[in-house]
């Protein structure tokens, strides 16, 4: 009895030690973990950590997740778990400034009502319960931000979306965006020329109207001498002849951490259109390009320039003007003479392959149009410590043509196409550049331009002059201006007296992504999109797709055959009164019916055969794993057993 009591005590003691070790472990080691997934799915990147760590107010995150209902849909459940573990990472990185509550909104509960009231979006999959997977952020100061639903298709930007929300809840004021443009993107607000007939009042470009929803948009005049105070971001559109004084201000703005987005162009359609009718000579001499060499030099990029194309090299323009990028593989379809359609190689239609999927700005976008765009090149002497991320590129079979060439051949894509056949380069159309930039004005503020006849004015020394940025900042340079014009980005429709602009491509999404991204903190800009954690059985999918293609082809072929018979039938019918059927018509009708039935039968057979392909594969895989492999082990075991049994018998 004593023995048993002793044993019991010892066993209980052992159990207590195990429990204690785990308890201590859960307190001290809870954060020690290694994320072994290929895409580091469960780890926060540095930018997100900084954002959540630097929160000024305490933020409460309420994740509404219908766990009960979602448990029946594995793909959604997996994604929800990933979202939860990511949010928990924020919580543990925040040092107490960010707390997460997970709420399971069952139907007809207060929680569900709360979810609905806050604008969360239910996923209805025809089940008894709707599924919620959305987030509400509340700061102690009363600010509120919502992600209505976490869409598994947007997994690659999940971390960015959450970080952006956490960042923006900490920022109480709308960021200010300045727009400096030589085109009238803000609408016709400038005083009209008394010499010209009065123009119709112009509306701002659609992108400006969109920006005004989320930002304070201010206009910066081309001849301004200083930039507005408190400006967070400057958008420069088609810069022409900007004074050194203003360039200096922009330079200093970027060095102080201001973000800049620049649209230059080799040939702006918009400018050309504004010029209206001109005589041929004038239009040949006109220059519709823009550039920002002084600042772009400092950023280490330049427009692709050249002496013009071979065949037209000698003619006008040429020289040092920016070249237009064309790509025969990317030419958009335009209407040609006689109603025919043609590929216009300098109207670039960029798709997923031409955009950088790693960058938040371009990730998820699918279609861009760039019209007679310039090309950007990283300069040979570009500082090595700057980071250059191409956002949009051509294929590697692109070339350049001269502005003059384009003017001459306008409306004749064939000529351009032939010219570009030699193309063998890849051009970058938009660059994102990050670095600690240096000033383009090492001597400080430049002297104001002197008026004619007057004494050259002295430069005023700037007490706040910065020669080199202390913190990293980011600029984006895009080599086409037309892409953000209404003409090439939206289709305007009149809807009960209201003009509605529908996006025709992702051009404006690109612009708003860029502005949203740049107006955030540098931590936010640094976030990259993530690879997809969803992995499918690609081999099976390929088989299915191939089968579907084969079926469609077969269907088409059989349909064509049927069509032939149908045609014969109608030919026979032609010219005959429709009540009387001749014997050969009857025969043909009979034949048609037979063929129709035969076609249906054949199609069914094709479909069955294609399905059988996949089923056979599935069956083989199962057979190999469930039967063949265990069987081999069984045979092997039996052989070893017999062998050792015999040997033992011999020995004994």
């Amino acid at each position: 009895m004593f023995k048993n009591a002793y044993l019991l005590t010892v066993l209980l003691f052992t159990a207590a030690i195990v429990l204690a070790v785990n308890l201590i472990g859960s307190i001290t080691l809870s954060g020690v973990k290694f994320d072994m997934t290929e895409e580091s799915l469960y780890s926060l990147s540095e930018g997100s950590e900084n954002i959540v760590r630097n929160l000024e107010d305490h933020v409460t995150a309420e994740l509404f997740y219908s766990k009960t209902a979602a448990s029946k849909i594995p793909a959604l459940k997996n994604y929800a778990e990933q979202v939860i573990s990511l949010l928990k990472e924020y919580e543990s990185a925040s040092k107490g400034q960010f707390t997460l509550d997970i709420i399971n909104p069952r139907p007809d509960t207060e929680e569900e009502e709360m979810a609905m009231r806050n604008g969360l979006q239910a996923i209805s999959l025809g089940m008894e319960e709707d599924i919620y997977l959305g987030l509400i952020l509340r700061s102690d100061l009363g600010a509120e931000e919502v992600i209505p639903v976490f869409d598994p298709n947007q997994e690659s930007t999940l971390e960015y979306d959450v970080s952006k929300l956490i960042y923006s809840i900490g920022v109480s004021e709308k960021p200010t965006v300045g727009i400096l443009s030589s085109l009238e993107v803000m609408g016709a607000q400038t005083p009209q020329n008394p010499m010209m007939p009065p123009q119709q009042q112009q509306e701002p470009w659609v992108f400006v109207q969109q920006l005004q929803n989320n930002f304070d948009v201010v206009s910066v005049d081309q001849d301004a001498t200083e930039l507005p105070e408190d400006m967070d971001l400057l958008v420069i559109i088609h810069p022409k002849a900007i004074s050194d004084g203003l360039l200096y201000e922009i330079d200093q703005f970027t060095l102080r951490g201001g973000k800049t987005l620049v649209f230059v162009d080799a040939n702006s359609d918009m400018e050309q259109m504004n010029m209206g009718q001109m005589n041929i000579q004038m239009s040949m001499q006109a220059n519709y390009s823009s550039d920002l060499p002084k600042l772009m030099d400092q950023w280490g990029v330049e427009m692709v320039k050249g002496a013009g194309s071979a065949s037209f090299g000698g003619m006008g323009g040429g020289g040092d003007s920016p070249q237009i990028v064309g790509d025969n593989a990317l030419g958009a379809t335009v209407g040609g003479p006689g109603g025919r359609t043609m590929q216009m190689p300098i109207y670039l239609e960029l798709r997923e392959e031409e955009r950088n999927a790693d960058e938040i700005i371009t990730n998820g976008l699918e279609l861009f149009h760039m019209i007679s765009s310039g090309g950007l090149r990283k300069k040979a002497d570009a500082p090595a410590d700057y980071e250059y991320a191409p956002l949009l590129t051509t294929t590697d079979g692109a070339g350049t043509v001269d502005g003059m060439m384009v003017k001459i051949s306008r409306g004749n894509p064939k000529m351009l196409s032939e010219e570009l056949n030699k193309g063998d380069k890849q051009f970058t159309l938009a660059y994102k550049i990050t670095g600690k930039f240096k000033t383009a004005f090492p001597d400080g503020r430049p002297a104001p331009e002197a008026e004619e006849g007057a004494e050259p004015a002295k430069a005023e020394a700037d007490p706040d002059f910065i020669a080199e940025a202390e913190e990293e900042t980011t600029v984006i340079v895009v080599a086409d201006v037309d892409m953000i014009s209404d003409q090439y980005s939206v289709r305007k429709m009149n809807f009960f007296g209201q003009t509605v602009a529908n996006l025709i491509n992702d051009n404006l999404r690109f612009l708003s992504n860029a502005i949203e991204n740049l107006s955030g903190s540098q931590d936010l800009i640094a976030l990259r999109s993530r690879g997809k954690s969803r992995r499918t059985l690609e081999y099976i999918e390929e088989i299915e797709q191939a089968a579907a293609r084969k079926f469609r082809d077969e269907e088409k072929r059989l349909e064509d055959e049927l069509q032939e018979t149908r045609q014969k039938l109608s030919e026979l019918q032609r010219g005959k009164s429709d009540t009387v059927l001749t014997p050969d018509m009857l025969a043909e009708i009979e034949k048609f019916r037979d063929e129709q039935a035969e076609t249906q039968r054949k199609l069914r057979q094709v479909r069955r055969e294609l399905r059988e392909d996949k089923e056979a594969l599935v069956w083989k895989v199962k057979l190999a794993n469930m039967v063949v492999l265990p069987f081999i082990v069984a045979i092997l075991g039996f052989a070893v057993f017999i062998y050792s049994h015999n040997r033992r018998r011999k020995l004994s």
Partner: protein, 244 residues
């Protein structure tokens, strides 16, 4: 410790000298594949992951590992060889550890033989091999914990069937402790800290966490401490029985 390796070797060899081991492996492989492809609806899910393979392991181990471990001490006691073993110049700890490691190695062999499923999935899609590797390690550690329970109950009784049943019951408690169906059921009245504490002692909790591809010290510590605890308990039981 001089006789540690001989015991280890003898035990491991012992597995393959009888058909039992092969039967075990064949059943293990068959049920694994059956569960993965049929119950786990692998092709219908269209996911190139091995989640549907690893998720069944706790339930498989629940029945298969007690079957492996039940004879470990019970047999020695029934046939009387335990006296022989324990009179040899060998510490009790070494004997327990050697038997445990031999059985664990045997389970490892069975696990390695499931690799064709990984090859299959890698052929059909692009699984995250880091996650697969971590899951294997997690499954192996969990098997060790199951095994240590089985070895403990094997030392309790001369009767293998009794050992099997007790082992099954104890293992089941540890599996269910982390089963969210059970936790959800009790969540209506049990306080949250208690639920958290109970589920933190459950196999499923740690298994699920490792299956995601995250190696956390907490999970590893759980399995190792549990294994060490049960093996120690086994040693104490044998010590007590030896003295009787």
């Amino acid at each position: 410790m001089s006789s540690f390796y001989p015991i280890l070797k003898r035990e491991l060899k012992g597995y393959f000298a009888t058909p039992v081991a092969y039967v075990f492996i064949v059943i293990f492989l068959f049920i694994n594949a059956l569960f993965t492809f049929q119950l786990g609806r692998f092709f219908e899910m269209n996911q190139a992951t091995l989640t549907g393979f690893f998720m069944w392991h706790p339930w498989l181990y629940l029945f298969l590992i007690p079957a492996v471990s039940m004879r470990l001490w019970a047999e020695e006691r029934k046939s009387g060889t335990i006296e022989l073993l324990l009179t040899q110049p060998v510490t009790l700890a070494a004997a327990v550890l050697a038997k445990f490691l031999a059985a664990w190695a045997f389970i490892a062999i069975a696990l390695i033989l499931t690799l064709p499923i990984v090859f299959t999935v890698a052929w059909l899609g692009d699984p995250d091999l880091g996650v697969v590797f971590v899951s294997y390690v997690g499954s192996f550690l969990m098997a060790g914990a199951f095994l240590s329970i089985g070895i403990f109950t094997s030392a309790l009784s001369k009767d293998q069937a009794v050992s099997f049943i007790i082992s099954l019951v104890i293992s089941l408690i540890f599996v269910l402790a982390g089963f969210d169906v059970i936790i959800d059921f009790f969540s209506a009245w049990a306080p949250e800290w208690l639920l958290a504490a109970v589920s933190s002692m459950g196999f499923l909790t740690h298994h699920m966490s490792i299956m995601k591809g995250i190696v956390s010290f907490q999970d590893v510590l759980f399995y190792l401490s549990l294994t060490a605890g049960w093996l120690t308990a086994c040693g104490f039981v044998l010590e007590a029985k030896k003295a009787q």
